[in-house]
Symmetry: C2
Subunit: 149 residues, 2 copies
Amino acid sequence: MKDIRPKLITLLKTDYATPQIARLAKRITSPSTTIHYNIKRLEDEKAILTYKAVFDYKKIGEGFCSYVLVSLSPEEYADPEKIARDLAKHSEIESVDICTGDWEIVLKVRTKDQDAYYDLVRRVLSRRGISKTKTLMSMKQLKTEFVNV
Amino acid sequence: MKDIRPKLITLLKTDYATPQIARLAKRITSPSTTIHYNIKRLEDEKAILTYKAVFDYKKIGEGFCSYVLVSLSPEEYADPEKIARDLAKHSEIESVDICTGDWEIVLKVRTKDQDAYYDLVRRVLSRRGISKTKTLMSMKQLKTEFVNV
DNA sequence: GTTAATATTTGAATATTCTCCAAATGGATA
DNA sequence: TATCCATTTGGAGAATATTCAAATATTAAC
């Protein structure tokens, strides 16, 4: 008997959920077909990208969260997107933004613990093109993905 | 006829979605009752907090995204959580973390445009207890909430 | 303003999916 | 091996999503 929950968590992190049309219909007091029509519209015009679960990350072994400010070396200024796309591939990285100011890229990262974070920094963030990083370690999370926790 | 889509967006931002058990069952090739049992377990132990939609925020009038590093005045160091909880109440604020280092609180904020952001800073971030803020404006978002965009 | 074209709302019927239950299986312990 | 508890599974019923066609509302054209 093998535990399928890690697999479920992986899938639900970005997908495999769907809107509750009947519940929305009750909440807004419109016929569910109207809700259905309007949601399909949002999906068709790609205003809604996906439906997913939000986790208590401590309980799924991703309790260590930090923001990483990344500074690029001058030769990368022209195309920060290349490095940013590379970073976005990693499942531990929740968000990737290309920003203005002293730091060209801002990451939000979730790992099991500080060791796993250190490992990620070595594997992923110590590379040509990245000249400097600054880590802001989250000690307590009050809200994430618009959800109060 | 009044547009219900803003209301749908608000509700789907934090809730009103549900897992697709049948689709997960196909993907993992287990009976859907097994999937159901395991997901209920994750929900019961509150590893899963909610199911929600992820949006193309530009398309729902929240195209301006920035990270705000907040520095507290010394008298607030003892209890940053009070201010943080206050900040978390605002619907424009996607995440709130209490962090180590030079900046005690890190926010991720989404507004319609720079004007709306400026307005939020004035209304919410110009207050006793907050001594300084630094804004990192996102020019391009590559990944958010684990979803590549 | 009136008409025509298009978009949205809605109810009814069907298709699909979820959920409950009870039985079977698996794993752990003594 | 026997016992206990957790997990898996199939079947049945309940709930929900989806399709379709008709009605209504909105917009555009004249």
